[in-house]
């Protein structure tokens, strides 16, 4: 196991007020991989992403990014270091133009210098965004909005991208397109950690996965291993 670990989550507990959402969760992300986080609706997947992004802070445990402790950092410093979360559910700025949304993606100091270059990359992945760049964002279709938030995430020039429920409410054909784009993005050297509810699909796309249940990691392994796991078959495939 000489593989380079880009993100390491060590035994974290996270609370929403008095409700404990994560229990002793640990996780490793290897540089360049496509890793999935699977679980039911309230399993704590989004909480985990928010904690990595610095929106929430653990009461116990640590988070390391490229060997640096980022447990207590605020979100804007974490973005600066190269972690970007792509929010689920149309996390757009609805009244702004597509272009302004993208430009806001490059808000961090490091990303501003590469704005033009990254904008070209985004248009390369999602040509439709260039066509729509002067439109108000709320007029886009659901799939286009999802492309926009991914594109906006790319504008931050990230090393690690966290994707929350990308396929929520989208047509299969759009989902295919998005996964194709993700593969291309990953080939440019960006590590991807994504959260999904569609387990069958996820285990086709990801190389490895962690399964979260009611705030705890219950299983992890390569996608191939997990597909064969009895527990997974029973819980998620109904076999």
């Amino acid at each position: 196991m000489s593989q380079d670990i880009i993100l390491k989550v060590n035994n974290i507990d996270v609370f929403h007020g008095t409700f404990q959402a994560l229990w002793d969760v640990s996780l490793e992300v290897r540089r360049g991989e496509m890793l999935a986080l699977i679980g039911a609706n309230t399993a704590g997947k989004s909480t985990l992403l928010d904690t990595i992004s610095g929106l929430l802070h653990p009461t116990k445990g640590t988070i390391e990014f490229e060997g640096k402790d980022i447990t207590a950092l605020p979100p804007h410093q974490i973005v600066e270091l190269g972690i970007t979360q792509i929010p689920e559910g149309r996390g757009i700025f609805p009244e702004m133009t597509v272009l302004d949304n993208l430009i806001l993606g490059s808000y961090s100091r490091k990303a501003r210098t590469k704005k033009e270059q990254n904008l070209k990359k985004v248009y390369g992945h999602f040509p439709i965004l260039e066509k729509r760049k002067r439109q108000t964002t709320k007029t886009l279709s659901g799939g286009e909005q999802q492309m926009l938030v991914i594109g906006r995430g790319l504008m931050a020039d990230p090393k690690l991208m966290l994707l929350d429920e990308m396929s929520l409410g989208l047509a299969p054909i759009v989902i295919n397109e998005l996964f194709k784009a993700l593969k291309e993005i990953r080939e440019t050297g960006i590590t991807i950690l994504f959260v999904e509810q569609n387990v069958r699909r996820t285990l086709q796309e990801a190389e490895r996965a962690y399964i979260l249940e009611t705030g705890r990691v219950t299983l992890s392994g390569t996608a191939a291993q997990l597909r064969e796991e009895e527990q997974v078959k029973k819980a998620y495939f109904g076999i």
Binding site: S53, L55, P74, P75, H76, I78, V79, E80, T84, Q85, I86, P87, G91, I92, F93, P94, E95, M96, D100, I103, L104, G105, Y107, S108, A111, R112, V149, R152, A156
Partner: protein
Amino acid sequence: MAGDIFSPIVMGILLGGLYALIAMGLSMVFGVMRLINLAHGDFVILGSYIAYALMTFLGMDPIISLVICMPAMFGIGFAVQKYLMGRAFAISAEAPLIIAFGIALVIQNTNQILWTPLSRGLTTQYSMASFHIGPLQFPFSYLLDFIAAVIVMLALREFLSRTYLGKAITAASQNKRAAHLMGINTNLVYGFAFAIAMLSAAIAGVFLGMTFPFTPLSGTQFLIIAFGVVIIGGLGSIFGTLIGGLILGIAQTLAGALLGPATQMLIVYIIVLVILAIRPQGLFGR
């Protein structure tokens, strides 16, 4: 007879510019952090008094005194947001309102102690001058108000649409969580938004002082006017703010001309209450 109506309408339009100028800061703070700054009127009057002090002690022209007045109010605004309002939001829904009310009283009474309750004005030669349209005469200060309002509006629009900070302010008002995730330090952005609102309050205060006499207690009156402008024009729309200002300005001058000057403000207050009753989201609000 036509002149009887024409003159107050022109006055109302020009006055509406001043009202829009006063309301801009209120609208911005509300749009970004969902706070009605109960102290906004008093901040505007604070701007008037700073210019008054500079004029009295240094003989500085009010418009030139903006060079000092604007950064001063910018700094005050940033500090108020960082040390008072920012913390108040974490306490409860009522806390920011109560604290703003407290700040309003502190400003009013500080002004009262420093400058006595007597009314003051920023009188200069040009603010006392007048201009003519046909046979009718209008105060030059009203024209200045309108020009200032248009300039500030265009500047604000350019700032919000062209700069990273301006875009970040807009973004934070539309989706705070997504703004966070873009690496926008929302606390800092709120600080700047409040500071810029206070900067516009400084400009409003200076032009108000050249147009009307003011006392330490004038703030409440202008808070209500600004609020009226914002609810008429709808929130977050710079253009709507101008329209709101014009409607309120014209209503006031027409009421003054037709019903007597004492009723002017009463009409404004009644319009505000009626709009609240029939369309609380504003005439142009979504």
